[in-house]
């Protein structure tokens, strides 16, 4: 499947150094990328989607977030993407306190992350190339650099020949690779993925996981939520297990 792709990633960790105004901390390197202390999330009364979670993910780490359906994986990732605010506790990502993050800074915070969704979330009206380039455009990267970098990342996921196709013209696996390219193109410190292989068949799932492994190989911190224990065993990395909103084990 990924045969046509170069084994060594063309993607390097040379940062674009897009310094977001008013966010000087973006340049500060920290040992811990995700710091979660006593985090809880209550949707309805007495129903904890997350219950007193304390968790650290170090820079350059690759971790799985697993657990049965309804365990709270998506809830945790939504909090990390600042789509949801926790009911209690503290969350810091790369030193940024997400609870204290002003509404006006949320978009800028998200621009510094990479996120991959189960349903890809590609803009149907835009071509593959435009979808990926979009993440750079909103960062204000110069035009020429946008194109070069987009092409580079598309090549890395092995889709440079489909650059002008629209998402509907791609298979699920290809769409997810485009989504991964988009999550990477801004050279994020942290890539989050919620069931990125949930809509794909097992072979493709492994391909996608290999992509995440390669991303991690360049030093990017990766956190992937999945309930596929088989896949986790296959990849063999740290697994953070949730059960009914509680942290069960982190092995």
């Amino acid at each position: 499947m990924l045969a046509g792709r170069p084994v060594a990633p063309c993607y390097t960790r040379r940062r674009l150094h897009v310094v977001v105004p008013g966010m000087p901390w973006a340049a500060v390197e920290r040992a811990t990328v995700i710091e979660i202390e006593g985090l809880s999330k209550l949707y309805a009364r007495d129903v904890f989607a997350l219950d007193d979670i304390t968790l650290h993910v170090d820079r350059g780490e690759f971790a799985f977030l697993t657990g049965a359906s309804g365990a709270g994986k998506t809830t945790l990732l939504r909090i990390l993407l600042r789509q949801e605010l926790p009911t209690g506790g503290h969350v810091k990502v790369d030193g940024r306190d997400l609870v204290a993050l002003a509404a006006a800074d949320v978009q800028a915070y998200r621009r510094a992350l990479g996120f991959v969704f189960q349903d890809f979330k590609l803009i149907p009206r835009k071509t593959v190339f435009e979808n990926v380039m979009f993440a750079l455009r909103i960062l204000g990267v110069p035009d020429v650099q946008q194109r070069r970098r987009t092409f580079q990342v598309l090549k890395w996921v092995g889709l440079q020949h489909r650059a002008n196709a629209y998402p509907v013209e791609l298979s699920g696996g290809e769409q997810q690779r485009v989504a991964i390219a988009r999550a990477l193109v801004n050279e994020p410190v942290l890539v989050l993925a919620d069931e990125p292989t949930g809509n794909l068949d097992p072979d493709l799932a492994l391909d996608i996981m290999n992509l995440f492994r390669e991303i991690n190989g360049t030093g990017t911190t990766v956190l992937v939520a999945t309930h596929d224990r088989e896949l986790i065993r296959h990849v063999g990395r740290r697994a953070i297990t949730l059960d009914h909103g509680r942290l069960v084990e982190t092995a």
């Binding site: 993407l81 978009q107 998200r110 621009r111 992350l113 979330k121 590609l122 803009i123 909103i138 035009d143």
Partner: protein, 296 residues
């Protein structure tokens, strides 16, 4: 900055095209609202101008008794010249009045002037100043002059013109109120049409939010869409007004030739045109903002 504007514009145009039915609807509501506004402005401006022209040529004459003494005449003339709203005073002697009558109505001369002597009184014909004439002050002056010795009569036919002017003011306010209601309705239509466009693209908007696009970047195209709708509506309304005026000119000239010169009807001033155009765009902008504000 320029790149952003280009992006807003192209996105807005695309969205307008995709929802062309509702876009046309909202452009038309703006057109109607601004057409009504423009029509009332056009009417009131032209009526006002006509009335002020009539006012300028309005007659203000002071007729003197034949037996008035030179001192009395002098007092009346000084009283007139002292008034600020009076531009000039022409003295018309009895002889001049008779000569003018002979000249203007030669066919009436044998019938009316059979008897010897001059029946015409001497008078002061007053030329009034510009339109900024204070009507009530003139009225007071007329009343005062009537009581002066040597004055037979004062004719001042400006009163009805002043009433006409206040009628025009009323027409203008009625028109503005009607237009305000229509503009509000148009604004609501734009809001809803933009909201529809937003709804049609909610998935895309959600994706942009999740990827971290700045809110201004997400809202921009929708606000732009509103502005384009408002601007197009305004342009359409102005074109219709212009065309309507050109069409109405010949029949108007035929019907009201005695009152107004059809060709003297003027289109809205450049300032008014700009006002309507900017007003349309502003209404569209507000509509787009209100719709896009609901994004988070």
């Amino acid at each position: 900055m320029i790149g952003g504007l280009k992006y807003f514009l192209s996105e807005a145009c695309l969205s307008l095209w995709r929802g062309r039915r509702s876009s046309v609807l909202s452009i038309l509501t703006i057109t109607i609202a601004l057409f009504v506004l423009g029509l009332f402005l056009l009417l009131s401006a032209n009526l006002e101008r006509t009335v002020s022209e009539w006012s300028r040529s309005a007659e203000f004459s002071v007729y003197l008794r034949d037996e008035a003494t030179p001192i009395e005449r002098g007092a009346v003339e000084r009283g007139l010249r002292a008034d600020a709203s009076i531009a000039g005073v022409d003295v018309v002697t009895k002889e001049a009045a008779l000569a003018r009558f002979r000249r203007d109505f030669p066919e009436l001369v044998p019938a009316t002037l059979g008897a010897p002597g001059n029946p015409f009184p001497a008078s002061f014909e007053v030329r009034l100043g510009s339109s900024a004439v204070n009507a009530s002050a003139l009225e007071t002056l007329a009343t005062r002059l009537r009581t002066m010795p040597g004055v037979a009569d004062v004719r001042y036919d400006r009163q009805w013109l002043d009433r006409l002017a206040s009628l025009i003011v009323f027409i203008r306010w009625a028109g503005l109120s009607l237009a305000a209601v229509l503009v509000l309705a148009a604004g609501l239509t734009v809001t809803n049409v933009v909201r529809l466009a937003l709804y049609a693209r909610r998935d895309e908007v959600e994706i942009m939010e999740l990827v971290g696009a700045p809110m201004s970047y997400i809202r921009g195209p929708f606000v732009c869409e509103g502005i384009i709708q408002g601007g197009s509506g305004a342009i359409l309304a102005l074109v219709l007004l212009r065309a309507g005026l050109d069409l109405a000119r010949p029949p108007l000239a035929a019907v009201a030739s005695g009152l107004v010169d059809g060709n003297a009807i003027q289109f809205l001033s450049a300032g008014m045109v700009a006002l309507i155009l900017l007003g349309g765009m502003l209404v569209g902008c507000v509509g787009g903002l209100v719709a896009a504000r609901r994004l988070r």
